[in-house]
Every structure is written in C-alpha cells, then in structure tokens.
C-alpha cells in the first residue's frame, strides 16, 4: 500500500485551487508593493496617512507605513494577505472533515482501510502543506519585489513574516478541523474558524485604542505574531511558537474527538 493516500488525494483534488489562490496573492502583492516606490518613499504616503484620524490608522495597522517593511506589513501581511489566507484556511479547514462527513465521503473512506487518526493527521498535513505553499510563495514574491519596489526589508524578516502568516492561517484551519471533528457540520466548522480570525483581528485593533483594553492582545493570536511587526523588527518568536503550538493542539484534539464519536451521514 502506498503511504498517505488521503493526503495525496487532498493535494491532487485542490491543486487547481492552490494555483488560483497563489495567483490571487501575487496579484495583490503586485498591486500594493510597487506603489511604495512611486509615492511611499518621498513621504507622500505618510502625508495621506497623517491626514487620516489617528485612531483609524492605528486600528487598521497603517501607523507604520512610512517604511517599506511597515508598508508591506500593514498592506499585505496584516491586512489583505491575512484576509485572503484566512478565507482559504476556513474553506479548506471546513472541507477537511466537516464537508467530507456531510457529503458521506468520510463514511465511505472510514469503511476502508483508513483509521480515523490517520484520516485527521493526513488532512491536517494537507492543510499545512497547502498553506505553507501559499505563505512561502507570497514570501518569495515579496523578496523578489523587495529591491525593485525599494521596500528595504531585511530578507530574514520575510521568513519570520511567512511563518507568522502561515501560522495564523494554519491555526484558523485547525480550528475548522477541530469544530468539524466535534460536530461534523460545515456551518460550525467555518463559523468557528472565521470567528477565531475575526475576533483575533478585532481584539488587537480594539486593544490599540485604549490602554485599558490592552489585555485583549493576550487573547488575540493576531497580536501574538503581529504586535511586534515581523517585517520591521523580526518576528516575536514566543508569540509565533504559541500560534503554532495552539494549531498543533487543535489537530491533536481533532484526532481525539473524531476517534471518540459516531460518524453521521
């Protein structure tokens, strides 16, 4: 028997989507990053940002936009790239178990020589590999554009930002995996994962508004990896480890949950 059949099937069935998402992320980067060279370097962009209310620029993370690294962090890693990878993480994460169960595929698969543990782990691996691909691919595009767009990002920081972006996406998809393992329902899986991403973002945005609410950063995975800008200052290793550890914990919990319950059709 060949190894990891479920993993290979997941990759085989989603490579077209993977290419589509890669192109989408590339388009986004090509749209945003070259703009910095044209009006970011001479202070024009900073002038626009300064004209906006301070609360707003802080909330959307545009307060560090005066440097190339801050610009790439604010426009892509902390905003559009985060949104896009979150969407794909929710879709893939809820498809992995919940949609498979709703469509009857899980029942068929588990009626064969595939154990539940194997199923969850191979699906988690397929999620990880696809999200890593998107993260690394985006990182490479940023690296390629770094010089021409005059961003001046320290190349090593791109690795940290990639690990942060991918970590957040993998955490989101792991939550979808876990909710799918618990309920077998796509609505719950995507609901739980999307809620995590939204609250994670909202908490850190609100925390920026007032010192009284800074504690919200403690429960925001977004803040764990992005509070210290990975592109500008290097990634916060502790926060990064926490995000990845939590994602791994969700995968482990998914295994334990799915092993325990009845599969519904």
């Amino acid at each position: 028997m060949n190894s990891v059949p479920v993993f290979r099937r997941s990759i085989r069935e989603s490579w077209r989507g993977l290419i589509g998402w890669s192109l989408g992320l590339t388009a986004l980067l090509l749209l945003y990053l070259p703009l910095y060279a044209s009006f970011g370097t001479d202070g024009q962009l900073q002038a626009i940002i300064d004209a906006l209310p301070k609360g707003l620029t802080q909330t959307i993370g545009y307060d560090q936009i005066s440097t190339g690294a801050g610009y790439a962090q604010s426009t892509f890693y902390g905003m559009t790239g985060f949104v896009l990878t979150t969407i794909v993480a929710v879709i893939w994460g809820s498809a992995a178990i919940a949609s498979a169960e709703e469509s009857g595929r899980l029942e068929m698969d588990l009626a064969h020589d595939i154990s539940r543990t194997q199923y969850v782990l191979e699906q988690a691996l397929a999620l990880l590999v696809r999200l890593l691909w998107l993260g690394i691919f985006s990182g490479l595009v940023v690296w390629v554009l770094n010089e021409p767009a005059g961003l001046g990002i320290h190349p090593a920081h791109i690795i940290g930002a990639t690990a942060a972006l991918t970590g957040l996406a993998f955490l989101t998809s792991s939550v979808a995996l876990l909710a799918g393992s618990m309920t077998g329902r796509r609505a719950w899986a995507s609901g739980a994962a999307a809620s995590l991403a939204v609250f994670s973002y909202v908490f850190q945005a609100v925390a920026k508004q007032t010192a009284d609410l800074e504690w919200l950063n403690a429960i925001s995975p977004f803040a764990w990896v992005y509070r210290q800008s990975p592109l500008l200052d290097g990634v916060d290793v502790g926060g990064l480890a926490l995000v990845w550890a939590l994602a791994a914990l969700c995968v482990g919990a998914s295994v334990a949950t799915l092993r325990r319950r009845d599969i519904s059709g």
């Binding site: 009857g104 595929r105 020589d113 595939i114 059709g265």
Partner: protein
C-alpha cells in the same frame, strides 16, 4: 473467522455475531437488544421498513458508529478495537450513498483500490462493464443509479471476505438489480459472506439464505427464507353453513382469535375471512364447531408476512410481536 460448536457437534464458521446490541441516540433507542448470527459463506438478508434500524446495525459493524452496549464480532474481531485492517476484509455499500466529488469514477475507484489493496484495473473494468457505468465521467454528474454502481464496484472489487450491502439495489433499474443479485450469488459460490439489507422483499427472497426481519430496532422474526414464509401468518377464508354470525363471533372471541377475522353473514352462510397470526389450531378447532362448506388456508408471500409483523408500532403490537418472535424461533430452530 470464528468457529462455533453447534449442539450437534457440527462446527460452523460465524462471520458476524451480534449479541445484546443496543444503540441509543439521546432518549431515542434505535436498536434494542439485537442478536444476530451470520454464518460464513451464506447470504443473510436484513429486511425492515425505513427507520427499522438496518442502517444503524450495519454501520456499527463497520465502526462508523458505536454501540451503546452489547457486542458485535465481525470476522472474529470486535470492529470497535480491530482497527482499519479489519475493514480491508469487508466491502461496504452505504445506504445513503452520495458521491459529490468532481473526480471521475476511475479516480474514485483507484483511490479505494489503492487503500484496499490488490485490485487490478481489469477487475474494475469488468465490474463497470457488467453493471454498465461510464467511469470517465465526474461522479457528481452521475445519476443516482450510476453512483450506486460505483458504490457496488468499490465494495466488490477487492473480493472481500464479507460484503455488507445496505439497500444495494436502490436506484438501480430492474436489469441491473438482477445482475447485482447474480453477483451476490457468485460471491457466495466463491465463499464470500454477504449481509444485505433491503425493504424490498422480493430481492431478499431471491438472494438470501437466511433472513432477519427488523422493525423498530428489534428482530421480529428470523429464519431461513422458506421457514419465514411458512411462519405464523396465514390467510384464512371459510364459509360456514350457519346464519348466526353473532354465534360465530362469540365462539371465535372465546378462542381469542376474532380480532383479525371478518365475520359476515351472506346468502350462503357466514363468511369468515382474514389473516391469522400465531397458532392456527384454535382457528381450525373453532371452525370445526360448525359445518364448514369451504375452507382455504393460504401461506401469504413474504411481503405480506412482514407487513403483518411490522404492524403499527404500539405497545400492544410490540408485545405481540415479541411473543411471535419467540414462537417463530421455537418453531424454526
């Protein structure tokens, strides 16, 4: 596979043995105290109306769902603990087969072939030709019947020791249904065991050696197909040479058998007709108290027997069903 010593000293291989199996969903009990034994190398039919618990029972054998209590042994192993390798020895068609993927039939089958081990492309092709399904089309674009054919191919292709087929003919046209029943017979000849469920009695009648009738989570009757037909239900029609229908009614009421019988007086005497469940003797003895002009006692077909056994799911019928079950078992074993 497990060997069992029979009282007569005969050794019988048991492919599936279920004892005291219960399955509860919250307060609802889907399976009550189920006992079943499927002898290896036979075709066993599980019949019952929708919601009787057939699918629940079969899914417990695959460890898709877990029993609340009781034990099941499949090919000598507990499905709960035997792991995925046991399922390699089983071919399973789910009752509610939905294939919604973009992949082609070929792709779908080669995935399961890869997981289940040694299957040649030729085997898949032969089965596809036999059932008449186009494997190059995306499975989600196929009709229900064609999806069902893919379900059957993935169950049969690795020649498993045990085939568990949940409503296997569902969606198939009559010609393909016949082909499937042929495949089931061939599987039996090849030494495979087949457990199939159906709410269509005719196909069970054609295919199965042994039958269990499931209703409302209970086995209400079991035995070989022939003995089940000879079971406790008979259609009785008689004409008695008397004009006093009330007297006939009173005598039958005394014998405890009037409920199921229609007793009407006509021009040529009193007509007694209806379906009798349980012992025939009191009916015959009561009839014999009159001059019997005509008498027909028919064995109904399986369909009618089972319909009769299901009855409306009230406490009273459940009690009478379970009484009938023991009477039935006593007679056939």
């Amino acid at each position: 596979m497990r060997s069992k010593d029979q009282p007569g000293g005969r050794i019988v291989n048991v492919a599936i043995e279920i004892s005291n199996l219960h399955k509860k969903y919250g307060h609802h009990t889907a399976i009550h105290d189920l006992d079943l034994r499927v002898t290896a190398g036979t075709v066993f039919g599980l019949i019952g109306p929708n919601g009787a618990g057939k699918t629940t029972t079969l899914r417990m054998l695959l460890d898709i769902i877990r029993p609340t209590s009781g034990t099941a042994r499949v090919l000598g192993q507990d499905p709960r603990t035997a792991g995925a390798t046991l399922r390699r020895r089983i071919g399973y068609v789910p009752g509610d087969l939905r294939l919604e993927n973009r992949v082609t039939g070929h792709r779908l089958l080669s995935f399961y072939a890869e997981v289940s081990g040694a299957v040649t492309p030729e085997t898949i092709r032969n089965l596809a030709d036999r059932l008449g399904v186009d494997l190059s089309r995306a499975v989600r674009t196929l009709s229900k019947g064609n999806k069902q054919k893919l379900g059957l191919i993935q169950a049969f292709m690795h020649t498993p020791e045990l085939l568990i087929l949940d409503e296997p003919t569902s969606g198939l046209d009559p010609l393909v249904q016949r082909e499937l029943l042929r495949m089931v017979r061939e599987a039996k000849q090849a030494g495979q065991t087949v457990l199939l469920s159906s709410h269509m009695l005719s196909e069970i009648q054609q295919a199965a050696d042994q039958v269990a009738v499931l209703s409302d989570g209970h086995v209400v009757a079991e035995g070989n197909v022939a003995s089940l037909r000879l079971g406790s239900i008979r259609r009785v029609r008689a004409r008695l040479a008397t004009t006093d229908a009330d007297e006939v009614r009173a005598r039958f009421a005394g014998a405890g058998g009037s409920n199921a019988l229609g007793i009407v007086s006509g021009a040529n005497g009193v007509q007694v007709s209806g379906t009798v469940e349980g012992a025939i003797d009191p009916i015959v003895k009561t009839l014999a108290q009159f001059d019997v002009c005509e008498l027909t006692v028919e064995e109904p077909d399986l369909e009618e027997s089972v319909l009769r056994l299901y009855g409306p799911p009230t406490d009273a019928t459940r009690r009478s069903r379970s009484a009938g079950r023991y009477a039935d078992r006593g007679r056939h074993e």
